[in-house]
Subunit: 242 residues, 2 copies
């Protein structure tokens, strides 16, 4: 395999930042290739590319097979799956350090979800070929992949327990706590999801979400500090769980 075989269509609607130089990646220790030597990234590998996806842009679609996985450097990606009735349900929110699209590592699989950037997202796109080759050369990579999968599984179980159980009010409190926990902002300020997204996460109608959020605002548990940014009362939210 030579350089000329390494062409790959750019992700539609995404900004291509450049070829990723994994050997000199500043955050490699946090990412999938943690533990691999700098010399691992030889030129016979299909290249890894670095993209910026603007908010609302799809990384991939359910049922497709683009032959690439993504690691998230920064931002939030929503993973959505179709209900029998054709409605979208959000089954996971993947943040920094997560790897998504790993289902393609089993030959013949297609993407299980449609992945869409919630805010602007900063990601690396890694061909499955490259993973396979590195896997064969560096057994530690498989452990890294296993840990990312285990992490996603833990998240999925939390999702079932916290966001799919009990009355809507409680599920929303859990969701807000989840967003507080995973946001990097100061002072319990976090970027609020859209109402439709929250509805698709907890499995309720947008109206029910809106009414409950409005209640929380009236109670002072939630406070708007800027368009799309809210401050949440961590203690009050936790109290709602019991």
């Amino acid at each position: 395999m030579n350089e000329s075989t390494h062409k790959r269509i750019y992700c539609t609607d995404a900004t291509w930042v450049g070829r990723s130089d994994c050997a000199r990646c500043g955050i490699r220790d946090l990412m999938l290739f943690s533990g691999l030597p700098e010399t691992a990234f030889t030129s016979d590998l299909e290249p890894i590319d670095h993209f910026l996806f603007p908010a609302g842009t799809p990384l991939y679609q359910e049922g497709q097979d683009e032959g690439v996985i993504f690691t998230i450097r920064k931002g939030l990606i929503k993973l959505m799956a179709l209900t029998e009735k054709g409605e979208q349900r959000i089954v996971r929110l993947a943040g920094a350090k997560s790897a998504i699209g790993l289902e393609l590592l089993d030959a013949g699989n297609t993407y299980r979800h449609t992945a869409i950037a919630v805010g602007d997202a900063d990601v690396c796109r890694i061909p499955v070929n490259t993973i396979d080759l590195l896997n064969a050369r560096f057994p530690t990579l498989c452990d890294q992949i296993r840990q990312r999968l285990q992490d996603q599984l833990d998240r999925a179980d939390e999702w079932i327990v916290n966001l799919a159980t009990g009355p809507a009010k409680l599920r929303i409190a859990n969701l807000l706590l989840f967003m507080l926990k995973h946001s990097t902002g100061q002072n319990d300020v976090f970027p609020m999801l859209g109402g439709n997204d929250m509805a698709a996460i907890i499995g309720a109608s947008p109206e029910t979400v809106s009414r409950n959020i409005a209640d929380l605002k009236r109670q002072g548990v939630l406070e708007k500090v800027a368009p799309g940014r809210y401050r949440g009362d961590h203690a009050a939210l936790e109290a709602m769980l019991r």
Copy 2:
């Protein structure tokens, strides 16, 4: 490490069938050790044991660390997690060929769930030590583990989409279809779960489950053929999803 270090307390309430002779396992091709040579199972490994768990018996408890994982030869295991309010939610049903307790492969972890046999279950208990050693010697094992984890993740996502979305009637129809799909019985006859279990699976009250099941029986979609065994009308159930 010698034989004397290989003592391990028997699983409480389970019947010990014997040391597993993986090299001659009749179903190894279907299990976790598929792809490993017969010579892999050397005597320096902590031994793998074969157990029968009667219905209702726990394999392990959330928060513990017994240092073993399980592969399921036959039967059904329910994985339960605690809600903040102290209620049990069933997040997964693991059947034949599944491997559970894999979270222990990351050092420092404890079991994420309480695992309980639904019917009688036939399982192999594998020390994490043994997995680690085999992993170091046979890189293909890591792929097998990755595939089991991916399988569990796919199941968890299905769970969210099918069993945690929409009105109770629809979730129950999905659950019955799930049980039909994963049962080995003939003629769409399957072992019915208890009402409390079904309630803990779809996140509803036992009364709601009972009322909906009663409706389905009156409509002829469900038919009792023996105590604990029902026949389900596959087509009628599918029709309820649209």
